[in-house]
């Protein structure tokens, strides 16, 4: 930890003692979970580096942005249209909410029976331990679940928060509402930045974000190979880092990684053997540094080959039309793309069930693990439908409900081991 970092964190009002504890805990965990993996692609070095200096170099860039008069917009959800933020010259940054570390702090205020993701994100603000939160000028929330919705009201007591209304159905009326939300969001961002979003700027931003989507999609498609050329943990990390890194740099790094992984596919080099059971994970998001389920699965001998998740296919699936056009036409195209995200907040949500079956086939998986964050009611209840669907399709399914704490690792290992024995390859 350099003195420069400490100076920067002090300026940001970070609680240095708590923050030290967090970073000191993160190092060994990353070592154990990531750096101990065998035969990783060299291209992971960039992502390791970014995590190794997780609150340093990128935060410095955001600070520089602020010093130059620019704005930083923090988000929690894949529904927030980041194109609009980039187009206004602001920087969007996806906040992490994936550690138990900040949960007890949040529980001083929020009810205990709230999902870990909500508690973790709120605890970061309350405890002043996340320099990304402290560097941001606006936090953009959304209405994908009731817990978050109310948490944002409380969060707004500490920092400016703007909430976008994500509808719960995909009807004509709902689409109109969402289009209105996207247009209103553009106004909010223009007002925040003082910059007007022109059609040209929006088109450029759309292409940039689309390019990152293409790069991630390319990486995922390479995971369809057997043996799988990259571990699920590594692929998850790439996605997680993409949430807060610069969009162009992330795209470039992912593509460089893909070039290398492509060679691996050609030469049949794998992160696991051909016989490793192939697993699709589906369900709640895994915000950095939540690597718990991937780690349990992959140390038990399975290979995670795809994530149907907000930290997976829901993040990069579907592109926005690059035909340009007027600002209104582009905003409409943006709103249409985001309405294709099959989040469990929608009813009905048959499209997600179709996605799971399709991905299970495309990635030639031996089984699906449904991941549910405890107290995430939408995904928990939708799991019943997932179970019915997969039973019909003859695809084995294991449902896991957990949070960020480690006390249930023994039980999870038992379930995972038994599941892998059951689908045995």
């Amino acid at each position: 930890m350099t003195n420069d970092n400490i100076k920067m964190w002090t300026e940001l009002g970070i609680d240095l003692e708590k923050h030290d504890n967090l970073l000191n805990a993160l190092g060994p965990i990353f070592q154990e979970i990531y750096l101990s993996q065998q035969n990783r692609p060299d291209g992971m070095a960039f992502f390791d580096f970014v995590v190794g200096d997780i609150h340093g170099i990128r935060v410095r860039e955001l600070r520089q942005q602020a010093k130059n008069g620019g704005k930083v917009v923090a988000t929690y959800c894949v529904f927030v249209p980041e194109e609009v933020v980039w187009a206004a010259g602001a920087i969007p940054v996806g906040l992490c909410a994936g550690t138990q570390f900040s949960v007890p702090i949040a529980e001083e205020v929020l009810p205990r029976n709230t999902c870990a993701l909500i508690k973790s994100s709120f605890g970061f603000k309350l405890g002043r331990i996340c320099p990304y939160v402290e560097s941001s000028h606006l936090i953009v929330g959304e209405t994908t679940c009731d817990g978050k919705k109310k948490m944002f009201e409380i969060l707004a007591q500490h920092q400016p928060v703007y909430v976008m209304e994500v509808p719960n159905k995909k009807t004509r009326l709902a689409r109109d509402l969402w289009l209105g939300e996207v247009v209103a969001f553009k106004d909010v961002i223009e007002e925040l930045t003082g910059n007007r979003i022109t059609a040209d700027k929006l088109e450029r931003a759309t292409r940039q974000v689309n390019n990152r989507r293409r790069a991630l999609k390319r990486l995922y498609q390479l995971r369809q190979a057997n043996p799988v050329p990259i571990s699920g943990k590594d692929a998850l990390l790439v996605t997680q880092v993409s949430f807060y890194d610069d969009v162009n740099r992330a795209t470039q790094q992912i593509n460089a990684l893909c070039d290398e992984v492509e060679v691996r596919v050609t030469t049949g080099e794998g992160a696991f053997t051909k016989n490793a059971p192939r697993i699709l994970i589906s369900g709640s998001p895994m915000a950095i540094p939540n690597w718990k389920l991937h780690h349990i699965l992959e140390t038990a001998g399975a290979a995670v080959v795809c994530e149907e998740s907000c930290t997976g296919t829901r993040f990069f699936g579907d592109l926005i039309s690059e035909d340009g056009g007027t600002i209104e036409e582009q905003l409409k195209a943006i709103s249409e793309r985001y309405m294709k995200i099959n989040c469990a907040c929608f009813t009905p949500n048959q499209e997600r069930l179709n996605d799971i079956v399709r991905l299970a086939r495309e990635y030639r998986v031996d089984g699906v693990v449904h991941y549910n964050l405890q107290f995430c009611h939408t995904y928990a209840n939708e799991a019943v439908l997932v179970e019915q669907t997969l039973a019909r399709e003859g695809i084995p399914l294991l449902c896991i409900e957990t949070d960020y704490a480690d006390e249930d690792i023994g039980q999870l290992r038992t379930r995972v081991d038994a599941f892998l024995e059951m689908i045995g390859r």
């Binding site: 957990t402 290992r413 038992t414 379930r415 081991d417 059951m422």
Partner: protein
């Protein structure tokens, strides 16, 4: 040739040794140093292969050169060995409850476990036995002697204990409260069994299967007579020993 199966659970460690048939078996408390306990248990046993199951399986197997298997598979194998017509296994252990559905060939078809806490497990009943100041062996008998029925709503070990305390302070019959606690567990486990779609024969195993009241209530709830092996807490260790005898995990 002797094959050893160890089930290193959260509350007890069970050992089964197989020669032609079962040549030796034991159940001891897990304690705070399960590896040491296992070493003592296996001393001079002269076994050739070892398979370890239960929560301590990785710790013990790596130290004692054994192989590992999940409890779920171990219980399925053990129960099918004892009851060739077994299609469902209910295992209520110290730390969790499981319902396992077996295919015609005896493979694990599907399984369900309770969630992360001690709700509906053997540990739940242990805590309650402490509250009543009776030994865990005596809890089932106490409940079977109830002259009336009361209701307990909470499955949570902590909340149920406070419900029990308030029932005691109201002067409620202790046996009736004990019965209510068994009903909570039986209802919960029967719900898991229904969810998974149980088929006869249903074998009830694990430490809690020694409890006659639980056996009766489960049979009532499921509408079938559950079969309880002579030593239900050995079923997992037996499954592990059978795997060890095969030399590999090929059963």
């Amino acid at each position: 040739m002797i094959s050893a199966g160890l089930d290193v659970g959260s509350r007890t460690i069970a050992l089964v040794l197989l020669g032609g048939g079962v040549t030796d078996s034991a159940v001891i408390d897990t304690g705070v140093n399960p590896l040491e306990r296992c070493r003592q248990l296996l001393a001079d046993k002269g076994y050739q292969q070892l398979v370890v199951t239960g929560y301590g399986r990785y710790l013990v197997a790596s130290a004692l050169a054994g192989e590992v298997v999940s409890e779920i598979r171990a219980y399925a194998i053990g129960a099918r060995h004892l009851y060739p017509d077994c299609h469902t296994v209910i295992d209520i252990g110290g730390q969790d409850s499981k319902v396992i559905s077996l295919s015609e060939g005896g493979a694990v078809r599907k399984f369900e476990m309770n969630d992360r806490c001690a709700a509906g497990t053997g540990r739940f009943l242990e805590v309650m036995a402490d509250t009543f100041e009776v030994a865990i062996d005596g809890l089932g008998g106490l409940a079977l002697g109830a002259s009336r029925v009361v209701q307990i709503n909470s499955l949570c070990t902590v909340f149920a204990e406070s419900e029990v305390v308030s029932l005691i302070s109201r002067g409620e019959e202790v046996a009736a409260i004990a019965l209510a606690l068994h009903q909570v567990v039986a209802t919960r486990v029967a719900a898991i069994a229904r969810r998974i779609g149980f088929k006869e024969r249903v074998v009830f195993a694990g430490g809690a299967a020694q409890n006659r009241c639980l056996e009766r209530l489960l049979s009532d709830r499921l509408g079938v007579e559950v079969a309880v092996p002579l030593k239900p807490q050995l079923v997992g260790a037996l499954g592990a020993a059978l795997l060890a005898r095969q030399g590999r995990k090929t059963i």
